[in-house]
Subunit: 205 residues, 2 copies
DNA sequence: TCGTTAGCGTAACGATCATTATTAAATTCC
DNA sequence: GGAATTTAATAATGATCGTTACGCTAACGA
């Protein structure tokens, strides 16, 4: 009995998911969410509860709709193939939607409101400067013969920076120094293989 | 001429730096900043300008006071030693202050206000679940002989997750899919060396 | 000692935040 | 068809946000 709902709850959730993905949890205002969903404020509240509950619903949907490659990967025959699948599919997911790049989980606490955009740009620039310094150092290393000629200094610098960012996120998640150093050691060492020959040249597809 | 300042501007900046480090840019309210600095609001405004300018000052101070190991590292004789120095010193920096873990630059857009702490915890748990799944998969790989017995599944899983987080941050900074795939490839490949023997067992100190 | 200048501190500004009372409209049951 | 009940939509809630008038106090030059 009673009046029936006029808007599609699933569509509204998808719209909210995209807003959270782009602006993060705190950066997404309820005004943003209602405008994206095309629904008035009390309608969203009655359908999902408060903002936190709505975000949790969006996060769950994100895992089942966009992070489905993780359970896929875990069933691949080798650990190497699993890691490969996750890394490459993540590279795709992080870049395929120009208006909400990155990962919802990270952006949830990494992105912010529009007013903070200048500060975000400053941090992005600072990050890029550090990476450029590292790349130049690696270019010098190639010239000095300290790195092989076929080494790619830009990819190497981007990789080290990625590990740095990853460690920073993990530290905020409570990782100990020992664990972070294990990550660093892994980044610096070769991937463990059964045979001691380690001549993979992986191809994404 | 006129009255001279009663509070130490440097101390106030240090206090603001710690608040930004812990709560991020948007998560740090002016009330938080003034309370940490032990200074009334207009005093902070007159000394630094607005919140954004204060954050930029804090960021500059962070680079010169805490990220001084980066220029240090760039002067080391080999690229490998440079990367090693940066990674291990970063592991230390990210964990040595229990009340403001991680990196100020990342936290600036990753941390948030206290009200969002439950959501942050949810994201941290979701991250940990993904890492645990990966670790279990790698444990199985060792049992199946697909990974060597001396492989450390927890470190390996943490490493892959670190690269994932790093890629997410880089995607938010505008990286293309190709660049992210280069990062993934680097993570999956061995570190390039002059000699084909790659038997580093690095020690942090 | 007096006028000028600048920092201090209270208190308020307008804007926006997430959340909800409240009233009007629509649908089902009796 | 009237009563019950759920949703829609307007508009307001109290709180907090970053920012700033404004009056008071302290220190300097004359």
């Amino acid at each position: 009995m009673g009046r029936r709902r006029e808007f599609d709850v699933e569509k509204a959730l998808d719209a909210a998911l995209c807003v959270f993905w782009r602006k993060g949890y705190e950066g997404a205002s309820y005004t943003d969410l209602t405008e994206a969903a095309g629904v008035e404020r009390p309608a969203l509240y009655s359908a999902f509860g408060n903002k936190e509950a709505l975000f949790r619903r969006a996060l769950a949907r994100y895992y089942e709709r966009y992070l489905d490659f993780i359970p896929e990967a875990l069933e691949l025959p080798t650990a190497r193939k699993a890691a490969e699948h996750i890394l490459y599919r993540s590279a795709e997911l992080n870049t395929q939607y120009p208006d909400h790049t990155g990962c919802l989980g990270i952006n949830g606490v990494l992105a912010g409101s529009d007013e903070a955009e200048p500060v975000r740009q400053t941090l992005i620039e600072a990050r890029a400067i550090g990476e450029a310094q590292l790349r130049e150092r690696f270019e010098r290393a190639i010239a000095e013969g300290d790195l092989p000629n076929n080494a790619k200094p830009d990819a190497l610098a981007a990789f080290v920076m990625a590990v740095l960012h990853g460690m920073a996120v993990q530290a905020k998640a409570g990782f100990s120094r020992d664990m972070l150093e294990a990550v660093a050691e892994q980044a610096l060492s070769t991937w463990p293989t059964r045979s001691s020959t380690h001549s993979w040249k992986s191809s994404p597809g």
